[in-house]
């Protein structure tokens, strides 16, 4: 059924608006990539057609009256103004239609709510404005270290501010996508670190709020390898429109290899804290961290803007190191400044603090090492 609908939609759009690119005039929901999402799609189409049918009958009678029963045609008004039989009928018939709609809806819902027997568990945490994915211990991975990473939007500010052509996946690209194996039941445990976010991938028909203090559960099983894109769907502040979701479904062997690589990388990250760093190394690393974690509020050149303070020559950044570390690690409560202590590694925290103290004319020449950050966090 859906293929016809899509074709009809494209045809209507094409003839009415003579669109140059038909693909952009998508008018309907697309069928999904999982069994649940296909059930939801069928449910959507069923209700849509029932509504269309009711609309044709009701509006048909109405338009016919408008056409035929007008004064200008000399139509005399009738005198009826009630009819018990008709009134009872048009109360009972809609009720029956609703029951017919409710049956498949209930079945689909019960199926979607059954989150048992998951084979892969991923904890999803919403942050302003990025997602964190943590891969928890599962059957087959007992004893292996857990690992996790942040998933930031990869679209550049130049594209957003129209200084550069927009990429095909404009606003829907991330640096580190969630990777899942095909054919396995994946369970997500959703929560949030600051405000409420909502994790949505349309092709899975999964939209679930990530709420601070709560853990919500959803599950999906993707059959076809591929890249599936979505967005945050709960207003979460300034960059709500800029925290996409990307899921890559890959064959199981590839997934196992990928997970092994990430575990190894997580181990290396821990070793970075131990390493001896030079000022240049830290500044170089810090520039990259600044661009992903800080620039959207404090500006590419540290000049701030609106409610976000400038970092150029500000005492916090040029004078007291402890105060600087405190703000970056613990955030400032009641403001948009988050506690990055839990979001960035010690190496990244040290690098970004060092970078800020030495960039844009803040030439303090001071550096903060990952070990100092580690000690600060554990003091």
């Amino acid at each position: 059924m859906h293929v016809h609908v899509k074709r009809a939609g494209a045809l209507i759009a094409g003839t009415l608006l003579s669109a140059p690119a038909l693909a952009d005039w998508t008018m309907n929901m697309s069928p999904g990539a999982t069994e649940s999402s296909n059930q939801v799609f069928d449910l959507h189409m069923t209700i849509l057609w029932i509504c269309v049918a009711i609309g044709i009958v009701v509006f048909g009678i109405m338009f016919w009256s408008i056409f035929a029963h007008r004064k200008s045609k000399g139509h005399e008004p009738a005198h009826f103004h009630e009819n018990t039989v008709v009134e009872i009928l048009w109360t009972i018939i809609p009720f029956a239609i609703l029951v017919i709609m409710a049956i498949p809806a209930t079945a689909t819902l019960v199926d979607m709510y059954d989150t048992s027997e998951a084979e892969v568990d991923i904890k999803v945490t919403g942050y302003q404005w990025r997602w964190r994915y943590e891969y928890l211990e599962n059957p087959g991975t007992e004893g292996d270290p857990e690992f996790g990473f942040f998933s930031n939007m990869a679209t550049s500010r130049d594209e957003i501010y129209n200084r550069m052509d927009k990429n095909e996946n404009y606003l829907l690209d991330v640096d580190n996508p969630m990777v899942v194996p095909v054919g396995k039941r994946v369970r997500l445990l959703l929560t949030a670190n600051d405000v409420i976010h909502s994790w949505w991938v349309p092709e899975f028909a999964i939209k679930k709020d990530a709420i601070p203090g709560f853990i919500n559960e959803v599950w999906f099983k993707v059959d076809e390898p591929g890249t599936y894109r979505g967005q945050c769907t709960e207003l979460c502040g300034k960059d709500h429109g800029f925290m996409p979701v990307v899921v890559e479904a890959v064959p199981e062997e590839e997934y196992t290899q990928w997970a092994a690589n990430l575990r190894e990388a997580a181990e290396k990250e821990r070793q970075l804290t131990e390493k001896e760093w030079t000022l240049e190394e830290l500044v170089e690393r810090g520039e990259g961290v600044y661009a992903t974690a800080c620039a959207s509020c404090h500006g590419d050149d540290g000049s701030g803007g609106g409610p976000f303070p400038s970092l150029r020559g500000t005492p916090v950044v040029t004078e007291d190191v402890d105060a600087h570390m405190d703000i970056v690690v613990n955030g400032v409560s009641g403001t948009a400044m988050q506690a990055f202590g839990s979001q960035l590694s010690e190496a990244d925290l040290a690098a970004v603090i060092t970078y800020e103290r030495n960039a844009w004319g803040n030439n303090t020449g001071e550096m903060v090492t990952p070990k100092e950050v580690f000690d600060y966090k554990n003091q």
């Binding site: 449910l43 959507h44 009630e82 819902l109 909502s198 709420i211 769907t233 207003l235």
Partner: protein, 528 residues
């Protein structure tokens, strides 16, 4: 306008005071009604101009005109101003003007309180709008102000927003008490409850809804106030609070609130369709019961706004079934309106055009509402442009077309002059085309996957967004024409209106001269 009316007064009452004191100190329901209507139209233009900013930014992908920070302030203020400043006061204005005339009462039951209810509103909105100029900007968390975005993470101006909501709530509650007192105590002899005009019935039920839920809104903003300023943790998970509690309390207010904005429009349309079909309203009794049923059900469905927060499956099923049930009484109303038109003798002056469009387009909004009620499908629709399309279809051609229909229908009674029919029809058709162009493509955008409340969007949404923006500009600009039509009519520039300018109209309001004298029904009329 009523200054002219004074000369028509047959009794010995004094006329309106001179100068500004007439408006500041008035206890006359007609003056207060006019002030409510003028205030709401000013707010409609203000909230509308914010919508224009939103649509201008969304005209193309990328950020061009405003920053995301300001964009969020615009969506928030647009929603708050339209709901609390434009739609609600417009219906209170219509109630002030028409309820005493419809039930044969000389004025509202509590005229001094009436004056105060009105004058609180400019104060509240002055405070709300002033937040735009405060440090940190205006509220930017959406008109639903979900915690903790609005509490822990809200701008400093949030406290002013809370106080403005409190004042609006006080105004609404007093207005509702006044409506109930007037309807229950001041009906003309012989007007039993089941003989009351539909507009009176719908407003009576609306007033009870207001009294039931405005204190809940006041409660939820007070909890926010405590969380922000006095260290409590109602909604802060870190302090043992519950962010989801906020949503339950808010929507316990919020769902009846949407019926508060539509029921009086049901009443208006139930007068206009019979008048222009020249045939009695079909199924009066079932219309009354349907409104009652909708009002009762509105208290049992709030969590359908929260299908994605993770409520247990039995809660999910309960709220899904209860929400679907609302389609039954709403369907009855639509069928009754169609049956009223059926075999009538119809003409299509502006009030009728707006009313017919109301029935069609509100029904489309009802259909998308039914789709949204299906919980598993709602996972796909929730917080996308499909929802934006849905609630604009029930609010714009629903509430706002209802208000336009009422204005054109009763303008001759208010001003004593017929409005310019050609201009009014132009206003209708431009509004109709603009509104559909603006909001119908939003259904497609939502189904294709565009979330709401985003300042920028992925490239596949570009085409329909552009269409939608063009429609929105067209709809917005057209409303200046309405202002022109009303001003022209109020200045007496047009044909003189008869006491009953519509040959099919019924009701006590048409038994007094046009314009309605400053004081009417000093002696109650007899209703048979």
């Amino acid at each position: 306008m009523s200054a002219v009316a004074d000369t028509h007064a047959q009794d010995h009452h004094h006329g309106p005071a001179k100068g500004i004191t007439r408006w500041l100190l008035t206890t006359n329901h007609k003056d207060i009604g006019s002030m409510y209507l003028m205030f709401s139209f000013a707010m409609f233009l203000l909230g509308g101009s914010m919508a224009m900013v939103i649509r201008a930014e969304l005209f193309q992908p990328g950020l061009q005109i405003v920053e995301p920070e300001f964009f969020n302030q615009m969506t928030t203020m647009h929603g708050l101003i339209m709901v609390f400043g434009a739609v609600m006061p417009a219906f209170v204005g219509l109630a002030n003007w028409m309820l005493p005339l419809m039930v044969g009462a000389p004025d509202m039951a509590l005229p001094r309180m009436n004056n105060w209810s009105f004058w609180l509103l400019p104060a509240a909105f002055l405070m709300l709008v002033s937040t735009l100029f405060m440090q940190g900007g205006a509220p930017n968390f959406g008109w639903t102000f979900y915690a903790p975005l609005s509490t822990t993470y809200g701008p400093p101006s949030t406290t002013f927003f809370i106080f403005a909501i409190h004042i609006m709530g006080v105004s609404s509650i007093m207005g509702a008490i006044n409506v109930i007192a007037t309807i229950l105590n001041m009906r003309a002899p012989g007007m039993t409850l089941m003989k009351m005009p539909m507009f009176v019935w719908t407003w009576l039920i609306t007033a009870f809804l207001l009294i039931a839920v405005m204190p809940v809104l006041a409660g939820v903003v007070t909890m926010m106030l405590m969380d922000i300023n006095f260290g409590t943790s109602f909604f802060d998970a870190a302090g043992g609070g519950d962010p989801v509690l906020f949503q339950h309390v808010f929507w316990f207010f919020g769902h009846p609130e949407v019926y508060i904005m539509i029921l009086p429009a049901f009443g208006v349309v139930s007068h206009i369709i019979p008048a222009f079909a020249r045939k009695k309203l079909f199924g009066y009794a079932s219309m009354v019961y349907a409104v009652g049923a909708i009002a009762l059900l509105s208290f049992l469905v709030w969590a359908h706004h929260m299908f994605t927060v993770g409520i247990p499956i039995f809660g999910q099923l309960f709220f899904m079934y209860a929400t679907m049930l609302i389609a039954v009484p709403t369907g009855v109303k639509v069928f009754n309106w169609v049956a009223t038109m059926f075999r009538g003798s119809m003409t299509f002056e502006a009030p009728m055009l707006f009313s017919v469009a109301f029935v069609i387009l509100f029904t489309i909004g009802g259909f998308s509402g039914l789709m949204l009620a299906i919980a598993p499908a709602d996972f796909q629709y929730h917080d996308t442009y499909f929802v934006v399309a849905h609630f604009h279809y029930v609010l714009v051609p629903g509430a706002i077309f209802g208000i336009f229909a009422a204005a054109y229908y009763w303008l001759p009674k208010w001003t004593g002059t017929m409005y310019d029919e050609t201009l009014a029809k132009t206003h209708f058709w431009l509004s109709f085309v603009g509104m559909n162009l603006a909001f119908f493509p939003m259904h497609f955008l939502g189904l294709a996957g565009m979330p709401r409340r985003i300042p920028d969007y992925a490239l596949q949404f570009a085409d329909f967004n552009m269409v939608s923006s063009v429609g929105a500009f067209m709809f917005g600009a057209t409303q200046l024409l309405f202002l022109f039509i009303v001003v022209k009519c109020a200045r007496g520039n047009g044909e003189k209106a008869a006491a009953k300018p519509w040959d099919g109209a019924e009701g006590l309001e048409w038994t007094v001269p046009s314009p309605a004298p400053y004081h009417t029904f000093a002696t109650p009329p007899e209703v048979k």
